[in-house]
Amino acid sequence: MALVSIHGLGKAYQQGEVEVQALQDIHLEIQEGEFSALVGPSGSGKTTLLNLIGGLDRPTTGTLSLNGQDIATLGESKLSAYRLFNIGFVFQAYNLVPVLSALENVEFVMVLQGRPAAECQARALRYLERVGLKDLAHRRPKALSGGQQQRLAVARALAGEPRLVLADEPTANLDTENALGLLDLMERLNQEEGITFLFSTHDPRVVAKARRVVTLKDGRINRESHPGAGHGLN
């Protein structure tokens, strides 16, 4: 069974008196362990699709399920729990909590999950080590570089052991060196730990790493390709 199954998905927004169809008739399945990219021009619906899969927004039409569970019909608190236990987010603007240290930022999701304090700390340190930030564990985000902040965001996204990591333009604010470093890190995590990644991106470096590329245009899936097939788990 596919990890994510999407059938006939549509999302319309009301802008003043005009209804804007951000997504329509999307059919997509994402298997466990994929390292995939959503590409397309601005306004093609990449972020909207990620938001719907991440349970941040609700579709207007169609069905969307994760591991067989329909998330389009979940209530507010169940949707919160869905995000907490199933999804890891990496945002373009890092979106770290500025008053928490690097360690506390990584612990945050685990704390919300109700894990014991000792386990939260041990796991957070392990993930910080994994992304090369263990020595900076007690620094606050503003004391970290952009690349370090995005790696911290990856560590936070992974710490709660999500089924799926959604990354919205994760390299957009990074220079080439940091962008490549981040991509290597995520690719390694995918290959070594089997974590499923789905990116939205404009960045050709990300597209080059992806083993499956889904192209969106005007809110519809326009094309699908497998440039890196055979390198990953699937």
Binding site: N51, L56, D57, S80, R83, F85, V97, P98, V99, Q113
Partner: protein, 418 residues
Amino acid sequence: MNLYRLLRLAWRNLWRNRRRTLITMTTIALGFAMAVFFIGLGDGGHNQMIRSAINMGEGHLTVQPRGYLESPANAKVLPDSVSLLTKLQHAGIPGTLSPRLALQVLASTAANSVGAVLEGLHVEQDPHVKDFRNRLVQGAWLAPGDTQGLAIGQRMAEKLKVRIGSKIIMMAGGDQGEVESRLGRVRAIYRTGLTELDAFMIISSQEFAQALLPATVRREGLQPITRLAIYLEQEDDLEPVKARLAALSLPDGAQLLDWREMMPQVVNFVIADDMGNYIWLVFILVMVTFGILNTILMSALERTREFGLLRALGLGRRHLLSLVLLETLLLALVSLALGWAVGGSLHAWFAIQGLDLSSMYPEGLESGGMFMEPVLYSELSWTRVWALSGIVFFTTLISGIYPAIKAARVPPVAALQT
């Protein structure tokens, strides 16, 4: 997320904009300190006025003929003060019992005549005495056994054109039209600063006043009185002692009243004056409310994106609501602590040193028809402390509700796009 972690996060959030938080805290703390200061001085003034009124008046509790307060008359007496005193002494009332005989008289000299109240009392033991004795401007206080001696106010002395040693004829009417008269001599002239005492009150021994009673109510050996004033050692004893006295069988026609019933004008004055303090308090609360609302609402609006992030990461609405409310709670607690530190220090200083108004009122201070010492001392009861803290604390919390609800309603997807 447990309370400790939520509190820690709230505390750090509070100090994100250190300057704004400090300004808000200072505003609340200073407003609160001012409220403590003014209410402390107000309460101190009221208590001082009440104590003065009780001392200069008829004690904490008074036993007097029924209806005397509404329409005093020379024939309305408690005919047997001896057995009443004995009964109360046996009951072990904690305080001083002062029998008094007050008569409405006409005081005349060769120069003038004035209507006056003659108060016959025990010239040595009555607690009332020291208030006059300490304010003598001429002569010496009445000696025990002096059956002619009178102490009068300075304004009455001026009206009657008398001095120490001068004679005054006292005349008192009964309810049957009979008139009793007696000659007295001025031994002392006092000045309290209160017109109704200085112009209309004459003090004499009980024996002198009893001789002016109408023949119909005069009883040899029974020592009729118009009032038995009871001065308690502890003000807090008022209600229990009143209850004990009410349980005793008082003589027919006798009535037990406390100072509030005896002096409703004092109670009304305090209530009216308190209203002024409450208006001040409302002003403080409005300041607190808007200060908090501004800080927490601005802080919440600035963090819309972050609230969206927290919601995206899985923080529930309830937790987000609690987080913002905890920020308000911490702001309220720290502000209150600061406010108490400043207001409490001001209160402590003025409770010990007092606020000396004597240079502003060299003639003495009269408030609500009562004499007041020119030095005001701050007083705060625990009830006031809890009420003030509670009102400011809950006002602060309430002003945090709107920003908290606003934060909790942030839709994650919209917030992340801001």
